[in-house]
Subunit: 184 residues, 2 copies
C-alpha cells in the first residue's frame, strides 16, 4: 500500500518544496491559488507539480495534512480536560476557527469529510460524539458525520458574518446549533 521504493533525492526535495510553497499560497490566496505560480515559486517545472499531485485536491490535501492531523490530535487533549459535551463543543469550535482562518482548509474539509485525508478528523469526531452521547449531553440520534457536516455549515455561516471579528461568530453559531433555535 505505502511507498515501497524510496523517492529519488531530487524528487523528494521537490515534493517538499512544493508542499511548503503550496501551503503558503493556499493560505494567502485561497483554494484557487495558481498552480503555475506555485510551481514557479518552488523552482520546479509545472510538469513536476502534476507528477507529484495529479489534482488540485491532492495538493490541497497534502499541503494541509499536518495541520489537519494537528486538529484531530487536539480532540484527545481536550477530551482529557473537559466533560464530554463541552469537549465536543470546544473541539468543533477549534475546527471551525481553523477552517476560517486558514483559507482553503474549509473547502478541503468540506469534501474531505468523505475522503482519505479526513480520516483522522472523522476518527476524532467519532470519539467525541460517542462520548458525549454516552454522557447524555448529546442527542443519541445524530451521526458523527452529520455533526461534521453541520460544523462545516456553521463555519460557512460564520464566514459570511465577516464584520464582527471571525472567531466570535463561530462560537455564536455553534452555540445556536447546540442549544437549538427553539426556546428552552
Amino acid at each position: 500500500m505505502a511507498q515501497v521504493r524510496p523517492m529519488r533525492a531530487d524528487a523528494r526535495r521537490n515534493r517538499e518544496r512544493l508542499l511548503e510553497v503550496a501551503a503558503a499560497a493556499f493560505a494567502e490566496r485561497g483554494e484557487g491559488a495558481s498552480l503555475d505560480d506555485i510551481a514557479r515559486r518552488a523552482g520546479v517545472g509545472v510538469g513536476t507539480l502534476y507528477r507529484h499531485f495529479p489534482t488540485r485536491q491532492a495538493l490541497l490535501e497534502a499541503a494541509y495534512l499536518d495541520r489537519i492531523e494537528a486538529i484531530a490530535a487536539r480532540a484527545d487533549l481536550i477530551a482529557a480536560e473537559r466533560a464530554p459535551g463541552e469537549a465536543l463543543l470546544e473541539w468543533l469550535n477549534e475546527l471551525g476557527v481553523g477552517m476560517i482562518q486558514v483559507r482553503g482548509m474549509k473547502a478541503l474539509l468540506g469534501t474531505a469529510v468523505d475522503t482519505a485525508c479526513g480520516e483522522c478528523v472523522r476518527g476524532a469526531a467519532d470519539r467525541l460524539v460517542r462520548a458525549a452521547q454516552e454522557a447524555g449531553t448529546l442527542r443519541p440520534d445524530v451521526e458523527p458525520v452529520e455533526v461534521l457536516r453541520l460544523a462545516h455549515g456553521v463555519a460557512t455561516a460564520a464566514e459570511s458574518a465577516a464584520g464582527e471579528g471571525g472567531g466570535t461568530a463561530v462560537r455564536r453559531y455553534l452555540s445556536l446549533l447546540v442549544e437549538g433555535l427553539m426556546p428552552r
Copy 2:
C-alpha cells in the same frame, strides 16, 4: 433611481435573451458557467454581455431575481396557513431546497444576504422571524440575518450529504438546528 430613459429595442431584446440563456447555463453548469458561452448561445457579442452585466455576480442576480422573489413571496402564503414557528421552518426548508436544486442560487444567496438582490429575502425572513419570536416559538435573541446565514450553512451541509436524496437532508439538518444538538 430607476431606469429613466427606456432601453433601445435591440438592447432590451439582448438583455432578455441573455437572462434566459444565463439562467439555464447557471442551472446546469453551476455558478462558474462560461460567460463566453452564454453570450454565444444568446447570439450576442461578449462585449454586450459585459455592457449589461458588468460582473458575474450582477448576471447571476439578474438571472435568478424572479426565482428569488418567488421564494420570498412564498413566505406570506405559508405564514397564512401555519403557526409562526412551523411557518418559519417550512419556509427555510423551501429556501434550502431551492438553493440546492437550482445550482448557482446557493452561491448567490450566500453573499446576497447582504446585497440589494437579497432584499426581498431579508424582508421575508424578518417577518417570519419576528412572528415566531412573538409567538414564543423562536429564541428572542436571534437576528433574522443570523437565521438566514444558518439556513445557508444548513444547505451547505445538506449538499455534501448528496447520497441520501437531496431534499430530505435539508429537513433533517434544519430540524437538528431548530431543536438543537443537546438532548431536550
